[in-house]
């Protein structure tokens, strides 16, 4: 076993220690907090690179390279509960991605959060998040996975609500926590069921793990009451957890609201890493979901994977259409993230682990880039987030503009050069070949068109035309409450309105530096997963990749690539035609599409009224049930508790009276003489020792009598 596999725990442990130390630090030590967080994650990054190097080129005939370390945690009954970590290509890829993206975002945050008074707390939470996320990635036990998964959820809650004094942020944090919790319940049930069936929660354990052949076969053969295999039931429950965490329909509602958090948080947690954890979960338990799906002939098809595919495809299309009609720069990106996560799920369903994971990795980089870019824009525009009030920023913020454009083209899937093209094309290609239905393929194509369209709209509104934010410069009294979109100012210091010059400005280099690094990755990563050199797929499956340029021109690929290129250009073209040709005159002017089709626009702008639907059904129903429970609790249980409390109080009172008056004072009357002789003690502050001793004597006598009575 390699030393890095043995010491893999160090990767999450370092940020954890940093977080603990920061938590104990004084709030004023801002420099220390940032240095600790960045330093620890930097070392973790180096360790992750070592882990990656160890996993590189190690695959053998027996499948991919895999080293596990398991240890006993505690015993219950006759069984030991084991935890452990695993180093395999999947882990290696994810640790490198998480540490690298995390490191860049940490550095960016130093600039972005510079004026916040809770800078130290911010880095404490960020480090805790990084530790938990890395724990998710390396876990070799579903239980450890679940623990870290919940910690990730907790930090997400803490960071969304970082500006908790703002009611919208507090509400968004709560919403995110509760919504993902619904999914987590499924995961928990799946985990318990899995343990009941296989007797272990370890993924891999030298043949005895729950993802290895023996346990899988057993679960496939065994049926449940509904005629479904046990593996299907467990797989669906586990997938429910992924649906919650990755914002898939119908549990997607929390993710756009989560944009209330600081922008680096949105980039790290709600774009690159945590929301991808759901996708990662599906990839991790893929053997469980794919079992029984026709081994050997290409991509397996099972009930679970079919569900995954449909959910993913629906999410991809649905979220992309909502993104078209949003005006908040971060909300557009949030819906785009939901949509892209749908693509990943679809990729996992139709094409297997490599297809979905490739898009996860490329997306992590270009979406982090876009979010940080939007952060830079927001920072530059004095915390303005409404794209209608931006415009013309390419002159003010050249670096941000260029890097943002790269990210946007990668997301839109601009052909050949950008990574998004290759990873998205691979998903579409796999969807095209899916034997169950062609509809996911068409939905994916439609989603791709919409993606290109809304990103063009966003870039055109933000960077082209003339700057529209200046019209508010004079009037400070702009309403802050408009849908909670524009009120993101730091509560401590208000740098915006009294600024000498209201013009937007480029961000400092501590913020643009990470943008440039991410831009390089947004382009270059695509080259590792082309059909001509499918290194990515080969690495995950443990064989070596060969360069075959001919595959690029083979019929199946070429045709699809041309089709998707066409679609992307159509989206870009339409977007530019509607928004780029003629720029908006002012911030308050209605949108071009709104003028054309107000009804459709309203539907999209209000996100298909899903929130309202939930409000009317789930939340209202929940409120009714809770009201009923409250009444029952208050009158039935509360009454009982109250009664017991009164009883306890009564007994305590009696006891106190006994202790104070009977024991301490009760003998006073009868024992005057003794008390006078012990006048010395009476002068002491309180409590007399004679009654104490008398009580001792009585105690002995009573005990003796009791024992005598019970003597047979």
């Amino acid at each position: 076993m390699t030393w890095i596999a043995r010491n893999l725990w160090l990767i999450p442990a370092l940020p954890l220690v940093a977080s603990g130390l920061t938590a104990l630090m004084s709030r004023r030590r801002r420099g220390w907090a940032a240095a600790l967080a960045i330093g620890s994650l930097g070392i973790s990054f180096l360790l992750a690179l070592c882990a990656f190097a160890a996993a590189l080129g190690q695959g053998g005939e027996h499948g991919p390279f895999r080293e596990v370390v398991n240890f006993d945690w505690f015993q219950f009954g006759g069984q030991w509960l084991q935890l452990g970590w695993v180093l395999d290509p999947l882990t290696a890829l994810m640790v490198v991605m998480v540490t690298l993206v995390g490191l860049l975002i940490f550095i960016f945050s130093v600039g972005y959060m510079a004026e916040d008074e809770n800078f130290t707390r911010f880095f404490c939470f960020l480090s805790l998040f990084a530790a938990a996320m890395l724990g998710v990635v390396i876990a070799n036990s579903l239980l450890l996975f679940f623990i870290c998964w919940e910690l990730v959820g907790l930090t997400s809650y803490l960071l969304i609500g970082f500006w908790y004094h703002k009611p919208s942020a507090a509400a968004a944090a709560k919403k995110a926590f509760i919504t993902t919790r619904i999914g987590d319940l499924g995961l928990l049930l799946g985990m318990v069921w899995l343990y009941a069936e296989s007797g272990t929660l370890l993924f891999y354990n030298g043949g005895a793990g729950c993802l290895e052949q023996g346990a899988l076969t057993a679960m496939l053969v065994k049926g449940t009451a509904a005629g479904m295999a046990v593996s299907t039931g467990i797989g669906l429950l586990v997938f429910l957890g992924a649906v919650g965490k990755s914002g898939q329909v119908p549990l997607h509602v929390w993710l756009p609201d989560a944009m209330e958090g600081p922008t680096p948080v949105s980039a790290l947690i709600h774009a690159a890493t945590m929301v991808a954890a759901g996708v990662f979960l599906v990839a991790r338990v893929y053997p469980l979901m794919a079992v029984g799906g026709g081994v050997g002939q290409g991509v397996p098809v099972t009930t679970v994977l079919t569900v995954v595919t449909w959910i993913g495809a629906a999410t991809a299309l649905f979220a992309a259409s909502v993104a078209v009609a949003q005006n908040d720069i971060k909300r557009i990106l949030a819906y785009s993230t939901v949509s892209q996560l749908g693509y990943m799920m679809m990729g996992l369903g139709v094409g297997g682990v490599a297809v979905g994971m490739f898009h996860l990795i490329t997306h992590a980089f270009f979406k982090a880039l876009l979010f940080l870019g939007s952060g830079s824009v927001i920072h530059g525009c004095h915390h303005e987030q409404d794209v209608r009030r931006m415009g013309g920023l390419k002159g003010f913020m050249p670096v941000t503009f260029v890097t943002y454009a790269i990210g946007m083209l990668a997301l839109a899937g601009f052909p050949l050069v950008f990574s998004g093209f290759w990873s998205k094309d691979e998903i579409l290609h796999a969807a095209h070949g899916w034997s169950v239905s062609h509809w996911p393929f068409y939905m994916g194509l439609a989603g791709a068109f919409l993606t290109a369209f809304y990103m063009t709209r966003q870039v055109a509104l933000v960077f082209f035309g003339k700057y529209r934010g200046a019209e508010q410069a004079g009037g400070q009294g702009r309403e802050q409450g408009s849908a909670g979109e524009a009120a993101h100012t730091h509560h401590s210091s208000t740098p915006s309105l009294h600024h000498s010059s209201f013009a937007p400005h480029e961000s400092p280099s501590v913020m643009t530096g990470p943008l440039m690094v991410l831009a390089v990755f947004a382009v270059a990563l695509g080259w590792f997963g082309t059909p001509a050199w499918p290194w990515f797929e080969a690495f995950l499956n443990g064989h070596s990749a060969e360069v075959e340029l001919g595959k690029l021109f083979s019929g199946g690929f070429l045709g699809l690539a041309l089709l998707s290129t066409l679609i992307v250009f159509a989206g870009l073209g339409l977007g530019w035609w509607l928004y780029g040709r003629r720029t908006r005159a002012g911030a308050e002017e209605p949108d071009v599409m709104e003028q054309a089709r107000p009804d459709l626009w309203a539907l999209l702008k209000n996100k298909f009224f899903v929130d309202e639907l939930y409000e009317a059904t789930v939340i209202r129903g929940n409120a009714w049930v809770s009201r009923a429970c409250h009444l029952a609790d208050r009158w039935v249980l509360g009454g009982a508790v109250q009664l017991i409390a009164w009883l306890a109080t009564g007994v305590a009172w009696v006891d106190r009276v006994v202790d104070e008056f009977v024991i301490n004072l009760g003998f006073d009357g009868g024992c005057r003489g003794l008390r006078e002789s012990g006048g010395f003690f009476a002068r002491l502050q309180q409590g007399r020792v004679q009654p104490y001793l008398r009580a001792l004597g009585w105690g002995v006598v009573v005990l003796v009598i009791v024992l005598m009575v019970w003597r047979d």
Binding site: A648, L696, G699, V700, L703, L707, M708, W710
Partner: protein, 494 residues
């Protein structure tokens, strides 16, 4: 018997105790001869660090020793289990010494530290004793040292009063114990616990035996503070200097509970009786069950009404003595394992709580609940430690106290056929719920209530902070990995 004593063997077995006695003498000598002119803090610091070194040396000697030995037919017995318990006692002594180094209540640094060491030596002899005579001598050695330690706050009249009460109460208990011992000897013709047990079996229905065992119970019940032998505890905890109270509450408890269990389980085997619901039978199990039930009820309820934190801890100690007695009642190796784990983690948490109280007392001049207001602002690390200690005492998972309670209740529930002791378990659980209230009352002061105008931070000495932090860490870690100790106890039990 006496003629066959091998002095070399005694020396070999009692090497850790010898090391402690030598340390105590060195501490006395160096304070009286060399440090006369130095300031009090230097003297206390030097004496305490020397004593800590001595304790560490004794601990190392204990860890390195192996095998078992018995001198004088039960006079001084050493087994792996006994060594483990001694290590537990030493583990309590070290923080007590570190806390005393912060104290400013006496000018007699050397004497104070030396007395702590003598008390610890007494506890270690107590743990090793399997003969009534030796039990009594060791008990008295411990008690006498503790009486003096209680009275050490010479400028404080409360300290003297507490010591006098402690002494009078202790004297009476010792008299009862000696009376019981003499009856036992008269009945069985032996003072060795194992030989005695055979005689006890023969005389199981003799009324004298009842009187004898109640006498023994009084003597040891006084040390562990079970009802009705508890009355000294609140006054002593409150009046004594905090480090003394901490030692009384922890190290002394570890040793006394062990010897109580040994006397009952080994020495009085054959006269257990029964405390199973509806199937009572005369014997030590019944007597202890009554004491345990009364302790759990009285300790927890009386603690509700306290306003002094040290007094509150005293009533909580009485309640905990009740829980621990449950482990003895189960009368098997599972019970003994549970008992040792419980007493050890209870000791750690109580020691930590006293360490925090000691700092608060120095800074605010009192230990009333009001003095803890806003502790989280004024000394965050101490407040966090207090949180860990009190929640562990209340038995909140994943802290060590939870597993302690769990194992004790599990042992008691599984002891008698047909869940006979289940009524005590239910009582214990119900009373644990009550206890949460008064622990949270302290924590509410520390965390929730805003301090008044004076929000000055405490000036906390680094050693005190480190002591609290290490104890808190130990409580958390032992809660997450209870097996670390349980495994050692199980191995030592064989």
């Amino acid at each position: 018997m006496v003629s066959e004593l091998s002095y070399l063997e005694i020396l070999r077995l009692a090497l850790p105790e010898t090391a402690l006695v030598i340390t105590a003498l060195v501490v006395l000598a160096s304070d009286l001869l060399a440090l006369r002119k130095d300031s009090l803090s230097v003297r206390l610091g030097f004496c305490a660090s020397l004593a800590v070194l001595g304790c560490v040396a004794a601990g190392v000697l204990l860890v390195m020793a192996s095998g078992a030995g018995d001198v004088g037919g039960g006079m001084f017995v050493v087994t792996p289990l006994i060594r483990l318990v001694k290590l537990g006692v030493l583990a309590m002594a070290v923080p007590a010494l570190l806390v005393s180094a912060q104290g400013r209540f006496t000018t007699h640094a050397g004497e104070y530290v030396a007395l702590i060491l003598f008390a610890v030596v007494g506890m270690m002899f107590l743990v090793s004793a399997e003969d009534l005579l030796m039990v009594f001598v060791a008990l008295e050695m411990t008690s006498l040292s503790l009486y003096v330690l209680t009275a050490f706050h010479k400028r404080e009249v409360g300290s003297a009063e507490a010591a006098l009460k402690y002494f009078l109460f202790g004297g009476m208990s010792a008299a009862l114990a000696l009376f019981g011992f003499s009856l036992l000897y008269g009945l069985t013709g032996s003072t060795n616990l194992n030989e005695m047990a055979q005689g006890v079996g023969v005389h199981a229905s003799d009324p004298l035996l009842v009187v004898a065992l109640i006498g023994v119970l009084a003597g040891l019940g006084f040390k562990v503070a079970v009802v009705p032998f508890h009355l000294w505890a609140p006054d002593v905890y409150q009046g004594a200097p905090t480090p003394s109270a901490a030692l009384i509450a922890t190290g002394s408890k570890v040793a006394s509970f062990f010897i109580l269990a040994k006397l009952m389980m080994v020495g009085l085997a054959g006269s257990e009786g029964s405390a199973a619901w509806g199937r009572y039978g005369s014997g030590w199990v019944l007597a202890l069950a009554i004491a345990a039930a009364a302790s759990m009820i009285l300790g927890n309820l009386a603690a509700l009404a306290q306003s002094s934190v040290k007094r509150l801890l005293a009533y909580s100690a009485i309640a905990h003595a009740g829980y621990v007695s449950l482990a003895i009642l189960s009368n098997d190796s599972a019970g003994l394992t549970a008992l040792l784990y419980y007493v050890f983690v209870y000791g750690l948490a109580t020691m930590g709580a006293f360490a925090v109280v000691s700092v608060v007392e120095q800074q605010t001049g009192g230990d009333r609940l009001e003095d803890f207001t806003g502790l989280a602002r004024r000394a965050p690390v101490l407040a966090l430690g207090l949180l860990v200690f009190l929640l562990s005492l209340a038995g909140i998972p994943p802290l060590a106290g939870f597993f302690g309670k769990f194992y004790v209740f599990a042992a008691a529930a599984g002891a008698e056929a047909g869940l006979g002791l289940f009524w005590l378990v239910i009582l214990g659980i119900a009373m644990s719920v009550v206890s949460l209230y008064y622990y949270l009352m302290v924590l509410k002061r520390a965390y929730v209530q805003e301090p008044g105008e004076e929000v000055a931070k405490f000036r906390v000495n680094g050693v005190a902070t480190a002591t609290v932090a290490i104890l808190a860490l130990a409580v958390v870690i032992l809660g997450c990995f209870p097996d670390w100790i349980l495994h050692r106890i199980a191995t030592a039990l064989g």
